[in-house]
């Protein structure tokens, strides 16, 4: 009897979790239906599995193009953030002078500034750079990547700084005596040891950059440069009346996220937990 109760509780927990995820179920079932079937019953399973609406949504959203843009922006931004932030944080810890401490303080202090406080003047600065220095900062993937790097550094430097402090300096000293320069010491010896933090930074920044809407919406105006959130927003604006098509579009956008999550779940949960540090 007691065993039966235990099994019942296990089932109950799973059932509750499934109920918790019912919004995703709603999106999934309705993305296969036609308009009439959707309005008949929004909670029911579809009668037929037609991929017609997925194909249509894919075309209307220029999904593959948006996916490619999002991928380029996310991968390049994160790669640069990791390279530059790890080098900077290491230098800050190993050169413990006033300059390092002040710079580090500035990095950490700015983490509290909301994006809304910076967005307008930042757009002015970038517009100025475009007009006077002829650098295409606005309406270009490169410009957006540059800004992502600027916004992502604080957190990354902060996390790396905490980790570097915990690794002993003796290995680096030995390598220096053997004739390695700082560049080699960092890339051959220090950077490999920073792997856990690198994973954390990567995970946190993927979640942030892949889903970011406001910054790309300000920077990118060309249709061909749209990221996934941007193309979803414009698609959704056009097709709110055709809910079945809108649901197919949403299903398309969340599928890559779910696949990414299920394939790297362990690292994601670990990274998110490790990134939740207090100031």
């Amino acid at each position: 009897m007691k065993k039966f109760g235990k099994i019942l509780i296990e089932f109950l927990v799973v059932a509750l979790c499934l109920v918790y995820l019912f919004p995703i179920y709603i999106v999934l079932v309705n993305s296969f239906k036609n308009r009439a079937e959707l309005y008949e019953n929004m909670l029911a399973l579809p009668n037929s599995f037609s991929f017609e609406y997925f194909a249509k949504a894919m075309e209307k959203m220029s999904f593959l193009r948006a996916f490619g843009n999002s991928l380029i922006i996310t991968v390049v931004s994160i790669a640069v953030i990791i390279v530059l932030a790890s080098m900077t944080a290491w230098m800050f810890v190993r050169t413990d002078d006033r300059l390092s401490r002040i710079l580090f303080m500035v990095f950490v202090a700015t983490m509290i500034i909301p994006f809304q406080t910076i967005m307008m003047p930042m757009m002015q600065v970038m517009g100025w750079a475009r007009d006077n220095l002829h650098i295409p900062m606005l309406n270009s993937l490169g410009g957006l990547i540059y800004m992502n790097i600027g916004f992502g550094t604080s957190m990354a430097v902060f996390l790396y700084h905490g980790f570097v402090k915990s690794i002993p300096v003796s290995l680096e000293e030995a390598a220096t005596i053997d004739g390695c320069n700082k560049f080699k010491v960092f890339w051959k010896i220090v950077f490999p040891m920073l792997k856990p933090t690198t994973a954390t930074v990567m995970i946190l920044d993927v979640i942030w950059i892949w889903n970011d809407y406001l910054l790309p919406s300000l920077v990118l105006s060309s249709k061909s440069l749209r990221t996934i959130p941007l193309s979803t927003a414009s698609f959704f604006g056009q097709f709110t009346i055709e809910w079945n098509l809108a649901m197919a579009g949403l299903m398309l956008t969340i599928t890559p996220v779910i696949i990414f999550y299920l394939s790297a779940q362990k690292y994601i949960v670990k990274g998110v937990a490790a990134g939740a540090v207090k100031l």
Partner: protein
């Protein structure tokens, strides 16, 4: 000689990032303070007029802004409570002896990864058409109607979506705190005859205070600064009833083209975020127990 070379290495390692960071964050922040003292419509050729503190004075008589501030505070308080309560319950449920705890964690955390904009769109469909159709099917039209058309229910809808998004995230942090609890202390409590509730309130809660500090900090600042869910779920409607501060600033600058005035709001917004989070961290930090 060696010193100069060290300095060169330092510059090589640190300068690129400091440069990017300065141009993207530091300079805009500083000139943003300057912008808050001018009146300007955003057109490069039009005049930027210095108005002193006028923008800041105007702001305290701006009903739409003050309403958005009240709604933001209300939304933040309710959401922070809901998220932390639910997150803690989830965390306690999936750290026990259950066999399905890993599967449960996986499912509960998933919404966080989808991102506020998309979540807002998903729930928009649920709160409008799905609710309406459930209402028609069951006849419970008092509960199931289009929530987003009613000012109060629309605000509640925002809270529900924010909670759905962040509860799993907060759960992960509480799980970490619970797992870091020393076994022997719990064991000792059991031996001394402490019951479930006693253990929970007298032992477990004090021990997870550090996680609590972090969770409160994250939920407070995330909720206070919410934009994406607001943008996609309600768009600030009906008739600005759910316009949060972040969205109010965005609209003031980019829809109404009041660049200087909107920037003054943005500076006040920054000050509010800074004060709230710093006060919260200093209060909850005092309550943490040293092990």
């Amino acid at each position: 000689m060696k010193k100069r070379r060290d300095k060169a290495w330092y510059a090589l390692f640190v300068f690129p990032l400091v440069f990017i960071f300065t141009t993207v964050v530091v300079i805009p922040f500083i000139i943003g303070i300057g912008y808050s003292f001018i009146s300007w419509d955003g057109m490069p050729l039009n005049e930027k007029k210095f108005v002193g503190f006028d923008n800041y004075i105007r702001l305290f008589a701006d009903e739409r802004f003050l309403t958005s501030a009240v709604h933001t505070v209300l939304f933040t308080i309710c959401s922070v409570l809901l998220i932390n309560l639910l997150g803690l319950i989830f965390a306690l449920a999936v750290t026990g002896k259950l066999k399905v705890k890993n599967a449960a964690r996986t499912m509960l955390f998933m919404p966080y990864l989808i991102g506020g904009l998309i979540l807002g769109y998903i729930w928009k469909f649920i709160f409008t058409d799905v609710f309406k159709s459930i209402g028609q099917l069951t006849g419970w039209t008092k509960v199931f109607f289009s929530w987003l058309l009613d000012p109060e229910f629309a605000l509640a809808a925002m809270m529900i979506v924010a909670t759905w998004q962040m509860a799993g995230y907060i759960m992960i942090i509480y799980i970490n705190g619970i797992q870091a609890m020393p076994e022997d202390v719990l064991e000792a409590a059991k031996v001394d005859g402490a019951g479930f509730w006693q253990t929970l309130f007298r032992i477990k809660f004090p021990l997870i205070m550090p996680s609590f500090t972090i969770c409160l900090f994250l939920t407070l600042s995330n909720c206070f600064k919410i934009f994406d869910v607001n943008f996609s779920l309600t768009g600030g409607g009906p008739s600005n009833a759910t316009e949060m501060m972040a969205m109010n600033i965005y609209n003031e600058i980019f829809s109404l083209n009041n660049y200087g005035y909107g920037q003054a709001k943005a500076i006040i917004f920054f000050a509010a975020v800074a004060v709230i989070t710093l006060v919260q961290v200093s209060i909850t930090k005092k309550k943490e127990v040293e092990m």
